[in-house]
């Protein structure tokens, strides 16, 4: 399948796998601290395992940003 991830084309041998698997393959070390946009919509973290990406999907992911003095 061909995906667009953070604006860049990416190709995988598999026809589909979960968003959690995708984050693993993109070497995201702290998936609990990542927000995902799936085809333009924010994806709830509880659905990372059950949402299957497929050919043509567009995904964006970024890290939670926070802190304090």
């Amino acid at each position: 399948m061909k995906l667009t991830i953070n604006g860049e084309a990416a190709e995988f041998e598999e026809a589909s796998f979960s968003v959690s698997e995708l984050l693993k393959r993109k070497d995201v070390k702290m998936p609990d601290m990542v927000s995902v946009e799936y085809n333009g919509d924010m994806l709830d973290r509880e659905n990372f395992d059950s949402t299957m990406v497929k050919d043509g999907d567009q995904l964006e992911f970024l890290y939670f940003m926070g802190g304090g003095q």
Partner: protein, 143 residues
Amino acid sequence: MINEYKLVIPKSIKEQLFEHALSINPIESCGYLGGKDGEVTVFYPMTNVDNSPEHFSFDPKEQFATVKSARNEGLSLIGVYHSHPETPARLSDEDLKLFNDPDPVYIIVSLKNEKPDMAGFKIFKEDENTIEVHKVNLIERGD
């Protein structure tokens, strides 16, 4: 020791950061810095959804919009800033605990003293107990 980390910030953008921080003080302010090749060219003020004098969090929806906006302009988000209204320009324990994104330079603007000041840091975090912090040389450039 040679400091290999540096970030060029135009004087006008440095002033924008200070103005933004002061305008929201005592609430912590935050934002992204866009640019390329180690030079900042645009400041993106962000909403502190915590609306707190002690904490900040970005709004993920606003983050996604900002990332796309920068990308459409051919820029990357090379810096992230937040203010410390009452403490120095150094990384707090909470900053390090909540650190996740290894790419941008982390900039702290301190409003502790009468005149604001700022410092930059590059952070590498393997896990909760293995964190490397490097000071970043912030080079001010005239516009």
